[in-house]
Symmetry: C2
DNA sequence: TTTCAGGGTGGAAACGCTTTCTTGCAAAAT
DNA sequence: ATTTTGCAAGAAAGCGTTTCCACCCTGAAA
């Protein structure tokens, strides 16, 4: 029992070819006849074979695995990001090893050079404040590093312009009658987990409002942890401050969800007494009729993955920064039925 | 540039020994003379040598890595669990590869037999409903599997008795005057993410109350997502139902934190008008004076890790179940200053 | 018909280690 | 003095891959 995993030799034997040919099939080498390739692939799947990444690394210098370091907050966002990354990498038969940052301590472990995180072919880092923590702002590795949803002059990066998103929110919401409000994601207390995304979005909102002659009083900004319940508390808070209609920019779709829930509880009509704009563009927003600033999360992840692959393959240029812009998606939560001068 | 890393051969040559001896030094093999060992160590540090982990894994036939599959909810709990597991494994030169379940889709990928998760020496699975999803309730691997914070007759497991914890909460809180309330963690809608922990705790609470002749009306159970804000909403809800004092069993410390925050906002005194008992025993509860049912999370993780190591080393016995019990920690949140008959 | 090019393939060597086998040698036992 | 024991350490055989070289074809060019 406990039969060992099949090796390339067993595949070769079953397919009646040499091990060299099996290896060529594994690596998509062009000079393998289609008929041979198929026989080998059939043998592989019949044996349940998968190559040993460590042996690949020893022999060829590549393990066909990359590391993704990411925080464990805001899971829907990271889930989509992962999806985008995986899309690109799986086409190239790359695997992803995840390094979720559960705590500052755990992060420190990841940053030690002997960590498993550095034993792969490259690093994808999805954490804002992370680069700033490192000595010389560099990760302790010779292998390529690409930042995603973050920015640094040292490394390739792909990120969304959150400030711009805030401005777009301002432009959209300022057109409606009624007072303006914002819900901002609380910044983590810990330096290590620092995440300024919420700040950037609200700053853009405030500045965007200023540009059209409106101002956002500090009292109209509700700071909340990242949860739907936070959105509910925010609406309760706003209701104590003033009367409808409320024009609310929620710093994230999840916060907006709480506003929707609480509005329903309070009997406020969405699109009339409460105009609500989220941020993220998660799929469920469509069903809920929630207007939102849609981020191209998957594309951002895919682009980061592509840049990393290029680096792994030897590209040596200076760091590239790919900026993505959110898109305003208007739904019923900011489309009321009354008509006013336009 | 990029001079190649020194290998075991160069170390052996410099220290004037064979490569076998260098390897023995690396692996703390006892039969190396102290004098020889020191010569080898000196050679290593003078060359800046560090062993190639991939080569070790290929040659040794082991990956010196185990997989930990876990959900990404309730991060403090899992952080502590990880800590306990790592404690044991790092002593044995083992690394942990994490497989966080971000979504049902991602879980399905982990369960496919060709996943990276199965490229390691063993599996540690910290997810309640997971075993039930599998064909024949077995993971598609010949490697050893141990469940932690979960239970199944098929595999070794280490878990905390949540129902008992609920009963202990009942016994403690029923002694105080005033009405009784509970906050229960919402079950995930998704079958895959199913987590009955919240249910078990509240069920124990209800049954424990029944035993002493008290009952817990359904209206006194507030079901909330897992967030501090959920606790705040819960207290608001209870305040609408009845007057102080409130005796509240929060299904998790994080929910209790929200109750603390909201009580402060509402001017209710903890320990007097609000008696509050959490569940988990996280470290911050001490500073906040929160009574709680402390779970031996680290020990549970450590025990699971030990069982897995034994299996990896060839232990063949039938599945073992290790049950842990929570401990009641009484602090000021359930120690009021008034005196009544005891 | 012969020569040549080049695609397709098998197998040996290499990657950097661990592990087993073997030998050398000194101390203990006969 | 001879045999036995056991520890230390070198040599060599793997581990599961990639890569390179040599060889065999087949078909086009001469």
């Amino acid at each position: 029992m406990a039969k060992r995993k099949p090796t390339i030799h067993e595949v070769a034997h079953l397919a009646k070819v040499g091990i060299g040919t099996v290896s060529r099939v594994l690596n998509n080498h062009p000079s393998v006849r289609t008929e041979t390739r198929e026989r080998v692939l059939a043998a592989m799947s019949s044996l349940g074979y998968s190559p040993n990444p460590h042996a690949r690394r020893v022999a060829g210098g590549r393990s066909y695995t990359i590391s993704l370091i990411l925080p464990v907050i805001s899971t829907e966002f990271y889930n989509r990001l992962l999806e985008g990354i995986e899309q690109v990498l799986s086409e190239e038969r790359y695997e992803i090893a995840l390094f979720p940052i559960f705590s500052p301590l755990r992060l420190q472990r990841y940053l030690e050079s002997r960590s498993l995180a550095y034993q792969t072919d490259g690093l994808l880092v999805a954490s804002q404040g992370l680069a700033h923590l490192l000595p010389n702002q560099r990760f302790p590795t010779e292998r390529p590093v690409v930042l995603v949803d973050a920015h640094s002059p040292r490394y390739d990066s792909a990120f969304v312009d959150n400030y711009l998103g805030g401005q777009m929110a301002a432009q959209h919401l300022a057109a409606f009658p009624g007072e303006l409000f914002a819900i901002q994601m609380q910044e983590e207390l810990d330096e290590v987990m620092r995440n300024t995304v919420g700040q950037e979005r609200v700053a853009g909102f405030r500045d965007g409002l200023a540009r059209v002659g409106r101002s956002l009083p500090d009292a109209h900004i509700f700071v909340s942890r990242f949860s739907a319940e936070g959105g509910r508390l925010a609406l309760q808070h706003f209701m104590r401050l003033s009367r409808p209609p409320y024009n609310i920019f929620a710093g994230a779709d999840l916060l907006a969800l709480g506003v929707l829930e609480e509005a329903e509880r309070q009997g406020l009509e969405i699109g009339e007494q409460v105009r609500l704009l989220g941020f993220d563009g998660h799929t469920w927003t469509e069903a809920r009729g929630l207007s939102t600033l849609s981020q191209p999360i998957e594309e951002m992840g895919a682009e980061a993955a592509r840049m990393l692959l290029e680096r792994i393959r030897g590209y040596k240029g200076s760091p590239r920064a790919r900026r993505f812009e959110p898109t305003l998606v208007v739904r019923s939560s900011t489309q009321d039925h009354t008509v006013y001068a336009d």
